[in-house]
Amino acid sequence: MAAALLETKNVDVAYQAKQVVFKASLEVQEGEFVSLIGHNGAGKTTLLKTICGFLPLLGGDILYNGRSIARRSTEENVRDGIVFVHQEKSLFPNLTVLENLKIAAYALDLQAELEQRLATVYSLFPILKERGHQLAKTLSGGQQKQVAIGMAILVRPKVLLLDEPTLGLSPNLVHELGRVLREIKEMGTSILLVEQNVGMAINLAERVFVMKTGQIILAASKQEMLARDDLWDLF
């Protein structure tokens, strides 16, 4: 196998005295869709935040394109194509939808290609074009999710780190979101998805990692995961 695009090696993370991630190793190949599942509090979100540079590592290393990014800031990572989307509060409530999208481009000095990139976002989420001048906080939960993901897509990330995007969405919105995520992957973006909706996470992914109490206890292909009937035991 070729060297992974993104790789964590024995990563330990702690909040003061409380260690929440123990020796976590996973990798994401170029263009791959990887899901990370596990019970709540298992350390999945923490691991994502650590990858994107928001939380410091206690031990281990993170490689991106074969180089260590363990000490880089979030800003540097974003510029280099590693983009994180929070499960909630992932947009600017007091800015309009269009401003939300534009600011993602502004932050990285991408004005020149703005129109073209906005077009990509609108092709995925047509509603955002209509709602452009509405304040983001007045949108429904599902539409806010679209803004958040739209902002991430706009910067054309190499790796998209998604933290529970389906949280609070109704079943058909979840389905719709799944379709969009697949499209994003088709555009060549690697995705690392943390998700409570295990069914969706497995169906979308090519590979699945399972985390439990801070450790990665299983790595399996989609087919292997689908064949298992002991899901309760993994949680």
């Binding site: 909040y15 005295a17 409380k18 260690q19 929440v20 123990f22 019970h39 709540n40 509090g41 298992a42 529970e164 949280l167 609070g168 979840v174 409570q196 909706n197 295990v198 069914g199 969706m200 996470a201 497995i202 439990k212 109490t213 801070g214 450790q215 899901l231 309760w232 035991d233 949680f235």
Partner: protein, 570 residues
């Protein structure tokens, strides 16, 4: 000589003021910008009482202390629970109103020119005629102020204050009203400031509103910060330094008209430097804490090791419903987080709440423990309605909770953490602290004994003297359990007991929880680790979309394909 004595008298009054402000700012964590105002108000109350009715100084002093204290307490009520910024704003507003009102109401206060001819201090006929003769009175005064502050801060009452500084919610969960403790402390602080004002007015035989200016409040804050917040000796040091330094300036020839600005410049500069480089002040709160090790009382230790508490051992397990929630509803901004949720907790059983993320478990938990108010529905304890009780009242009647992120008091000893959880201690009541010290003393031993025993139950007795933050995370979890037990609550709710504990420790923690259930405690856990749920729960409620969808044993629920689909989406 007289000059020196005069300076000393003034310095002592400032020490009293600083110590009393430290009580408010340092110990209770209330950012009061109006201490000088209370100083001035106290002075005026005393002056007006003595001059208007021709009463003795002592009456004036008492009136100033009590009236201003009560006034402060009434004033403090509405603002003390809101955020720091607003407390600053609120007290600042009061400071400005008070000063300008005093300046404007010259019929009463004499306005700018103040009131002359204030009767001198007179104690049992003794009237000091010179600053030197006044010194004994100053020393007596500061001794009393110190004694009061010492009592307030180095007592079970003070322990609660310290707990509030570290984590107010945790204190609430142990059955103490944070508001009550803060307001009482504010009252005492204001009362003492007023007493200092009274002494100052009668000593100078003059008063005007200038002493109640904002600058005075700022200066006092600087003294507290410089000396060391939440350390009484620090305040003495801080006040002395900030009085002495400017006094020295007066000896610089030709500088006389620069003294005022030079003095404030020094105050300001010291404030900046200290906040930046030594925020704990000259004499920090935890001075020597790291070195000093609490030594266990061997007698109590032996008793604790012999057997666990009688209550824990002997409680009969009747399997009756102890706590009941009926039809709870709770919405946040139109979103129904908990929807017609009902549950029963039985004695001796471990009941678990599980469900996918966002299903309303935590909200339900907070509704039961009183940290949130339901929009509808009721909570009953042994058939008695308790829906209206606040979180700390619920802890008092026997419903105690733990926290996912432990929230123990990091800077206290292990023993103090447990002692803080004890209920209805005389030492936490200001009146009894001063008026019934024998009761406080008698109870002390009793509470220590209980604390030792609960530490033994969780296996931390030999760590009783350690500072809590030095414990490992798993030990901190155990300490949280000991603290929970020390409330003597019968209904215990654990929020994610296994989270953050490494797998080897989970077993012993779960064993402990099971032991508690066997001894008659009523237990509810919210837990995401399904393995743990399967292992220790007798009954599981499966929640989805804010409702209790199904109940049964863990095995039953996990065999249900519908629940599997809800939980996993497959």
């Amino acid at each position: 000589m007289e000059y020196l004595s005069h300076t000393l008298n003034l310095a002592i009054i400032y020490v009293a003021l600083t110590v009393s402000l430290n009580l408010i700012l340092g110990f209770a964590g209330i950012a009061s910008m109006s201490h000088a105002a209370f100083f001035c108000i106290g002075g005026y109350v005393s002056v007006l009482v003595t001059m208007h009715w021709g009463l003795n100084f002592a009456v004036g002093l008492a009136a100033a202390t009590v009236l201003t204290g009560i006034f402060g307490g009434v004033l403090a009520g509405p603002f003390i629970k809101i955020k720091d910024e607003y407390v600053i704003l609120f007290t600042l507003a009061f400071q400005m109103i008070s000063f300008h009102l005093m300046l404007s109401l010259y019929n009463i206060t004499g306005g700018d020119s103040g009131i002359f001819g204030v009767p001198p201090v007179n104690i049992f006929g003794f009237t000091p005629t010179s600053p030197t003769a006044f010194l004994p009175i100053s020393f007596l005064f500061i001794f009393i102020v110190y004694y009061v502050c010492y009592k307030v801060t180095r007592s079970p009452f003070g322990r609660v204050l310290k707990g509030i500084r570290e984590d107010a919610s945790a204190v609430t969960s142990l059955g103490k009203s944070v508001l009550k403790f803060k307001v009482l402390t504010f009252m005492v602080g204001c009362g003492l400031a007023a007493a200092a004002g009274s002494l100052f007015a009668h000593y100078s035989q003059f008063i005007n509103p200038t002493i109640g200016h904002l600058d005075g409040s700022v200066l006092l804050i600087a003294m507290v910060v410089l000396g060391g917040s939440a350390n009484l000796w620090g305040s003495a040091v801080g006040a002395f330094l900030l009085i002495i330094i400017p006094e020295l300036l007066t000896f610089i020839p030709g500088a006389s008209n620069l003294i005022v600005p030079l003095r404030s410049f020094i105050y300001g500069l010291l404030l900046i430097l200290f906040m930046r480089f030594r925020p704990e002040g000259l004499v920090p709160e935890y001075l020597g804490l790291a070195r000093k090790k609490y030594r266990l009382d061997p007698e109590l230790e032996a008793a604790a090791k012999k057997g666990e508490t009688a209550e824990l051992a002997a409680a009969p397990v009747a399997n009756e419903v102890v706590l009941e929630a009926r039809g709870l509803d709770k919405s946040f901004g139109g979103l129904k987080a908990v929807d017609n949720f009902s549950l029963e907790l039985r004695q001796g059983q471990i009941t678990a709440l599980v469900g996918p993320n966002g299903c309303g478990k935590t909200t339900a938990f907070n509704l039961i423990t009183g940290f949130l108010r339901p929009d509808q529905g009721s909570v009953l304890l042994r058939g008695r309605e308790i829906t209206g009780l606040t979180a700390h009242r619920r802890a008092q009647v026997g419903i105690a909770r733990s926290w996912q992120d432990v929230r123990i008091f990091q800077h206290m000893t292990v023993l103090d953490n447990v002692l803080l959880a004890r209920q209805s201690r005389a030492g936490e009541k200001l009146f009894r602290l001063f008026l019934a010290p024998w009761t406080v003393g008698r109870q002390r031993r009793m509470h220590h004994q209980a604390a030792y025993q609960y530490l033994e139950v969780v296996g931390l007795l030999d760590k009783a003297g350690e500072i809590a933050k030095n414990l490992s995370y798993a030990e901190q979890k155990l300490l949280a359990v000991a603290r929970l037990l020390a409330t003597e609550a019968n209904v215990l709710l654990f929020d994610e007991p296994s989270s953050g504990v490494d797998p080897n420790w989970v077993q012993s923690l779960m064993g402990l929880i099971r032991r508690l259930a066997r001894r008659g405690k009523t237990i509810c856990i919210v837990e995401h680790n399904l393995e743990v749920v399967k292992e220790i729960s007798d009954l599981v409620y499966f929640m989805a979309d804010g409702k209790a969808l199904r109940q049964g044993t863990a095995q039953e629920l996990m065999a249900d394909p519908q629940l599997k689909e809800i939980y996993f989406g497959v």
